[in-house]
Symmetry: D2
Subunit: 408 residues, 4 copies
């Protein structure tokens, strides 16, 4: 999940509460690490994931590189070598630590990275404490920095889960908390109908949005129906029991090859013992709750399930229309929802100028759009026009699905 809006794309960023939100966001990143040791924060679980320490440093490097170095006169880089260590993928900003090798960075230490964060925050404080306030351009960059850090907050959680799931001790990364009592059986699924016509899609321009949510434009939609809730674990168990993972006719060709090669027979992190299903979570191994939305599935699995159920995945446009109209339950805050839409630029899309051009645009190929947000998405980071994207085989995020259908 990666995205970046350019100043020219983000409408008025809201100056008054910006500072407060900025530092609250920064603090929240550290709160997420409260149960982690320096060891936990350093190791990289797999190529797709990054160490917590790297996330903490990279989000600071981002503020330093995009705002402080060019815009805060007299700002001193914390350590010049960090530019190489913590650049993620910006070709225009020079060479960088290869992504699969982020986990060898035992130095700088977590302690040094915390000092780096403090140093960057001092710079950001200074920006606000000047006689002349930041001004709209820098305000927008700060807004981008906040949203960027929020994206990494979610990744910190999914990446730690990947790490702890690979550990034979299956440690919890946070204490178990009282869950809202889930009903034993899923709610009956209800369908919400939408008529055909031209719909406005994309961010309307007020408040923050990433460049990939714009420009707002028109799409013609055929009439469709959308499930008013997500697919549940109970339903997924029925799919498994019905031979879903063994029936080639349900699968895209690439998906069938993948599950055969990898031996996938369940969502990621699921285990069966003596007929009981449990799954690795941030709270350690927990029973699979029947009424909870299924999570950690790939696009291939979501697509196969929909076919098995006799339905299809929604397009991202259908999802957005429904979300805007508030017409269905569980749109945000549960799991990211795979859509049938490929991640492509909207008509008329222009990437922002400068290095932020690389934030979203260069990933617009071979990925699918996910809509909504997950239980790991920070408060305030969700909206109806938000476009998340992953490759169809990826499933270490909190990814699930909602069914759609053509009009009856």
């Amino acid at each position: 999940m990666t995205g970046l809006a350019s100043p020219s794309h983000t409408a008025s960023c809201g100056a008054s509460q910006l500072r407060e939100r900025l530092f609250a966001t920064r603090r929240y990143s550290l709160e997420l690490t409260s149960t982690l040791s320096a060891e936990d924060m350093t190791v990289q679980a797999m190529d797709d994931a990054s160490p917590t320490k790297w996330h903490l440093a990279h989000t600071s490097w981002f503020f330093e590189t995009v705002i402080l170095a060019p815009h805060l006169k007299g700002y001193r880089l914390f350590d010049e070598a960090f530019h190489y260590c913590f650049n993620s993928y910006y070709e225009s900003l020079g060479p960088r630590q290869p992504r699969p090798k982020r986990g060898v960075l035992t130095r700088p230490s977590c302690e040094t990275v915390l000092a780096y964060r403090a140093h960057v925050e001092e710079g950001l404080e200074e920006l606000f404490s000047r006689s002349v306030p930041p001004g709209p351009e820098i305000e927008c960059l700060l807004e981008i920095g906040i949203n960027h850090e929020q994206q990494h907050q979610e990744l910190m959680l999914t990446d730690i889960l990947a790490l702890f799931a690979a550990n034979p001790l299956r440690p919890a990364s946070r204490p178990p908390r009282p869950h809202p009592k889930q009903p034993k059986a899923p709610e009956p699924l209800r369908w919400v109908a939408f008529g055909s016509g031209i719909y406005e899609i994309g961010h309307p321009g007020k408040g923050f949005a990433w460049d990939n949510e714009m420009p707002r434009h028109r799409q013609y939609l055929q009439p469709f129906r959308l499930a008013d809730r997500l697919v549940t674990n109970a339903e997924w168990l029925a799919f498994i029991a019905n031979g879903g993972y063994r029936t080639p006719a349900l699968w895209l060709s690439d998906g069938w090859s993948l599950i055969a090669r990898e031996g996938w027979q369940t969502p990621l992190y699921w285990e069966e013992r003596d007929g009981e299903w449990s799954a690795m979570t941030l709270e350690g191994m927990r029973p699979v709750e029947p009424a909870a939305p299924v999570a950690h599935i790939s696009y291939y699995e979501a697509d196969a399930y929909a076919r098995w159920a006799g339905y299809r995945l929604p397009t991202e446009f259908e999802w957005e229309v429904a979300a805007r109209e508030g017409a269905a339950r569980q749109m945000i805050g549960e799991v990211w929802q795979w859509t049938g839409s490929a991640y492509l630029p909207y008509p008329g899309y222009r990437p922002p100028p400068g290095p932020l051009a690389e934030y979203n645009a260069k990933f617009m190929c071979s990925q699918h759009v996910l809509r909504g947000s997950s239980r790991a998405t920070p408060q305030g980071h969700s909206r109806a026009t938000y476009r998340n994207f992953f490759y169809p085989h990826q499933r270490w995020q909190f990814t699930g699905l909602r069914l759609a259908a053509d009009a009856a």
Copy 2:
């Protein structure tokens, strides 16, 4: 390139000339092999390509399996073992020779495969010679078989080219023929403008079409412009000379990784010697003609070129609208044209019943649509609604590009 229409999807197949077209198509497959030895026809150049012999046998297996075995009473299978050898990818029809191992089939021999073709054609003749004519269902299946074989005719050419390009002797697979005199310099590029609005997209239902061209449905398009001709070799050379293959800002992230890893610096088959460019073709090594359309480029390269030129690729809908209106040159018969559209089902799409469900539907992920047709596409196999599809890294087909732009 693979596709299949179900009877229910193909409008009236035209009974009267069907037989003639069927056998003309069968003969043309053999004509394409006239310069090839049995050795040439047996070897598999790479995993993506298939041996000529395999194409000849598979297209016969298709008629045998889909039409003769179920519909011609008393038909005798030529050899039961061929079902395993020449099933391409139909999971519903059982296990098969793995795709990358099609080239180990030195047996059955080419001679036997020709006998297999004759045997199948006898069956097809018998179908027509009966007192009761085939009827619409079988006519439609025959139409599908013809179109299927035509698709493989194009693949026979591209796969032989791949084989001969890997041969240090760089043999020609057909005698050089007098080319239409190409002008030294490309024609100036002109733009054709199209207005916004709701357009009908997809096959209207009269005449043959694949299932993936249907259903006809509505798309809203923003105003756009389309180049009236293809990008030329001369223009591509300017892209190379300007550092196109060395400038990361032009490339999608996956594309940049790919060209770095593989060392791509030109289209496939190009070679430079003493400042002169030549390329491997069906007629052997030939000078790169400046005014001819560039060919053998991947989606990544097409996309990077468009960005470098300050434009973009058209969507498949824009292309179809322009083709229908006959508004631009070089729409068919030159090179397949990469579009910015991912290969996905049309709204309301339903795959055909039976094994033909696997023809197109299961490939609708991670590929891009190409429109038009190429110099290798058989006569009569092109149309404005045709959807070809390949992965973004593939370039052994005759693939090129046409520029598009938003309205000025």
Copy 3:
């Protein structure tokens, strides 16, 4: 199996019958192809194997490059491009067709390769028909060429077997011939004892030998015993039935990883159906004969079997001593016998000068020595000092084992 003696290493090559043996060897290569089509002769079964056509051409290229071009005045190269096509691995002779791509050479055709062979043989005839006979240096090179071609004759058989075993039709590459009636049960195994002491090892210098068999030198051997026959299929079946392939304690660490990764549970080419074992052979699928020597096993399997049986593999020196003394049955002509000796240079070894330095020396690492010869080895190509060598995982050759033990 590859080796080359330099003139300085091969003792008197025997001038009188040389010509006759040369052309008999050349003819025998063609006889081996009598049941093969051009298609069969062109395809490469796997990276380790080569096409028959390539073997036919390479052995001709060898005579052309090593003898005719430098030593026959006025000799005209058949085709300069063949130097690239048919150089096997001689770095000193320039770039070459990559080994895994030998199978794309559908051109030159088999017919052309036969013409190439004839052309080279004309050159060789001319060498003999001159007023001045070849002389010892060229005689020795001719001897090397004969032995080189004999090595490729064996490879032609093993490589065709690999090709036909990968073909679902499981074709035979020669008509079934009446086998010597094998007894139902293996002969009882008898042990032959040898005393300790200093033994002379290596070729004594009279007659042809490869450079890697020299120099003759001394080895001290502890007392040992050698089985007087090979391990049989019946014994191997007992090993399988006893869980040999599932017992890690029997295996070298690398071997255990390999069989787990590849799922090996039998020798190569074995198949079980309804409790009956059969194996792919040059005569097609045939029942596994209990009393016949087991074949197509890797070093790892040979070593595991010996450990399971409570014995060990012989060293190559032990084998040579026994062979020289004629003390045991089945030393040659059945299967190559894995020894516990790594393939390393003998003390005092010097590779021959010129390109032939690359024949054997550069492979002296990570391989194991096999002794004896196989049913596929040409007549007259076996001797007690012969050193064949393969990597421990390879098993597409006719490879088996004989047990050894320390003195009781």
Copy 4:
């Protein structure tokens, strides 16, 4: 480097100072970690290397599993889950954390692993404090445990070096210490001559030795000469400057493929900047000292150098004879010395009973023997009969070479 002697193979282990040596060894392991953070100790640099924490835990698991659990009545396992986490490769002891995944074990923490060490040491103390002393069998196991831990002490150093060399900050893992002043130029190389004859090879049986050093047995050696010192960096620079890494004739075939594929042009860890050479060391980046022994080379490089220099590598037997006679300088304490000998069992070799059978025996294939010891080998761990072994491509250990030659 891994080895294990069985009780029956280790001659009198020396009871009196055993306890003192045991705890001194345990303390020394911790001393080696004094400059490392918990982060440094947790990360795995590459598949071949292990985290420091894992080494600390594994060596404790070894004492617990081999001695305390079976032999100390009432001993309580520290944590049952550690059996899975810290078993290295003992198939007979059950499943284990896959080797390339040792670095995901952020839990147990370093702190817990230290507690584990203390717990095991309490158990060991108790063993000694009993009224009945341990007895010869347990004494021998303790001796094995000490030597095992010493082997891991060396690996801790080489693995940390691998980790820090992969870090763009190139941290030092210990403070730079005053080096013995190295002369600018290497000492002139002198040759020591040895006569032919039968030599006794292998451990004579007094004092500790690994099973792979036994049994003592006879080898016949031809006369040879051995360089009285190691090959130096200055000499290696001459090899580089002379095109050593670009001359295929110098290389084994596998080695040449490897250096081409990997782009090797120097020993591991070397870097050139502005004509100056430096190398990553435990003390960070340091200038390459001309007179110091070259280190971090693979067998392929050692072998190529020897060929370039006109010599060869010694066999392990030659090395042992020379070491026993004290005839040459720099035999131990500098770098491990590649020999031309494959790592194979000595004649009459029997692995020890029980799980220790897996210590050395199952690795006796495809590796080469290194003799001597390195600057990282703990005091008292070297001897003339010691056999270390690595694959020919490995070079993250302190590996160098000494030249040998046949008698003039």
